[in-house]
Every structure is written in structure tokens, then in C-alpha cells.
């Protein structure tokens, strides 16, 4: 009941502020970015040799904090400016003061929601991709098992990101999912190549 009300409220806010597509684009891009950062980290850890799970956590947590703050701040500043511009445009068109209207308050809420989507998508993706490798280290399992599982999660997230793009643009879910996953494979190959050359 509460969840339904929240979803209804979110839908209304996104519709009023015309930010549905923006939130979807941010989600897709940030899942892609977050998954790439995650797999880059995991490969970096793996190639550079054994690390205890504590040192892995100590490396990953600051990165997650950095991604969260960067994602939130970047989206907040740009979306707040966009919403202010939209309100000014509507004020000019209707010749009325828009402050205090539901459009103005929806603009403020949308700015926060979109910033959270931008921030949390990347953080979640990075955390999801790096968790199996950290867990493998914590449980004293073979690091390769963690690496393979991280790679599978990364490919799944990249496919999800691609399928969201494909579904909304009507290009084709499979095509965009494969393109994104392909980019992940290319990134992994480059990481291995560069790391082994060092």
C-alpha cells in the first residue's frame, strides 16, 4: 500500500517534470559506468596479486563514496538548473508566478529523485560487481571463482543497461544488450593487456 503510493507519487513527479526519460537514461548510463568501474577494480586486484578482504574493502569503500557523491552532485546541479529553466519558461508562457504550484514542488522532488538514480545506480553496480571477489577473499575461496562470478554479474548488468536503452528507444533489446556486453568484454581485454604489459 505504502509502496504503491510511493510509486504513484514518483510517476506523477516524473510525468509533471518530464524527467522519466532522463531518469531512465541516467540509470542505464550509470549502471554501465558502475559495472565497468567494478570490473576494472576486480581485474586490478586480481592481476596485482593477493589482497586480504580488508584491504579490498578499504579500497572499494572510498571509491563507492566518491562515485555516490560525484553522481549525486553532478546530476543535482544540472537537473536543478534544468528545472529552474523549465519553470521560468512556463512562467513566461502562462504569465503567472509558478512558485508554490505543484509543478515547482515536483521540480524540486524530481531533482532529488534523478540525482539519487544517477548516484545509486553506479554505486549499486560497482558494489554488485566487486562483492563476489571480496566474498571469495573473505571466505578464503579461490579468487578465480570470485573473478568469474564478478564477470558474470558485470555482463548481466551491462546487458540490463543495454536492454533498458533498447526497450526505450525501440532499437531492439538484444542488439543494445549485446553491444553493451561487448563493450564490457573489450574493456576486460584491454585491462588484461595493459596490466600484463606493466
Amino acid at each position: 500500500m505504502v509502496l504503491r503510493r510511493i510509486i504513484k507519487r514518483l510517476n506523477l513527479t516524473f510525468t509533471l517534470t518530464e524527467t522519466t526519460d532522463i531518469a531512465r537514461r541516467y540509470f542505464s548510463l550509470q549502471i554501465f559506468d558502475g559495472a565497468m568501474v567494478g570490473i576494472g577494480l576486480v581485474f586490478g586486484f586480481h592481476i596485482s596479486g593477493f589482497h586480504g578482504y580488508e584491504s579490498l574493502l578499504r579500497a572499494i569503500i572510498p571509491i563507492l563514496i566518491g562515485i555516490a557523491i560525484s553522481g549525486y552532485t553532478g546530476a543535482f546541479v544540472s537537473e536543478r538548473a534544468e528545472q529552474a529553466y523549465r519553470i521560468r519558461r512556463l512562467e513566461r508562457a502562462t504569465l503567472t508566478e509558478m512558485s508554490g504550484t505543484m509543478l515547482a514542488s515536483a521540480g524540486t522532488q524530481a531533482t532529488i529523485f534523478v540525482s539519487l538514480v544517477n548516484s545509486l545506480s553506479a554505486v549499486t553496480a560497482t558494489a554488485l560487481v566487486s562483492t563476489p571477489y571480496i566474498l571469495a577473499s573473505a571466505l578464503k575461496a579461490l579468487p578465480e571463482h570470485g573473478l568469474y562470478l564478478s564477470m558474470i554479474i558485470c555482463l548481466a548488468l551491462l546487458s540490463l543497461s543495454g536492454s533498458v536503452v533498447g526497450k526505450t528507444t525501440g532499437i531492439g533489446v538484444l542488439r543494445t544488450a549485446l553491444q553493451m556486453a561487448g563493450a564490457g568484454v573489450v574493456a576486460a581485454a584491454l585491462i588484461i593487456l595493459v596490466e600484463s604489459a606493466l
Binding site: 508562457a93 503567472t96 508554490g100
Partner: protein
């Protein structure tokens, strides 16, 4: 001896309203219909521009308050251009 007291009540008001495209006409009308005393809202789009649309709102009810209607329309981001018609009924109370 019974005493008669008269009062008036607005039972129908026709408004010309300028509003942004969002909220759409359905949500906009629902917002107006949520007002106390409103029984029916009949809305139709008269004109569509790049950023705005002009709609005709026919509001039926009992003891409608123009101030309250104006307030809710403003909250929804619209502005009343003109009051095009009104129906007022006279109510007689026996004391």
C-alpha cells in the same frame, strides 16, 4: 411567525483556463474535482500551444467557491483567463 432568510449558491461555473501541458487534462480535472462541493467537472481543450493549452472547464456542484477554485487551479500551475458563465441558485431558509 416564521422568518425567511435568502442566500445564493453557485451551482455551475464555466471557466477559460490557461495551463501547462502537465498535469494533463485528466489530472488537472481530478485536482479541481477534489474540491469540496464539486460534483462534476467537464473539461475540453480549446487550443494547444508549444508550452501551454487553453481549456474550458465546466464545474457543477453545490455552493462552489470561486476563490477555492482559483486557488486549486493556481496550485496546478494554471491561470483563469475568464469566467465565461455562471449559474446561481437562490436558497431560502426558514427560521
Amino acid at each position: 411567525m416564521s422568518e425567511h432568510r435568502e442566500s445564493t449558491s453557485i451551482t455551475r461555473i464555466v471557466l477559460d483556463v490557461l495551463k501547462p501541458h502537465q498535469p494533463n487534462i485528466v489530472d488537472f480535472s481530478r485536482g479541481v474535482a477534489s474540491l469540496r462541493g464539486v460534483k462534476k467537472v467537464d473539461s475540453s481543450v480549446l487550443e494547444v500551444d508549444a508550452e501551454t493549452e487553453t481549456i474550458k472547464l465546466v464545474i457543477d456542484g453545490a455552493d462552489l467557491s470561486v476563490e477555492k477554485i482559483d486557488e486549486v487551479i493556481k496550485r496546478l500551475g494554471g491561470a483563469i483567463h475568464s469566467i465565461d458563465a455562471v449559474v446561481i441558485e437562490k436558497l431560502e431558509h426558514k427560521k
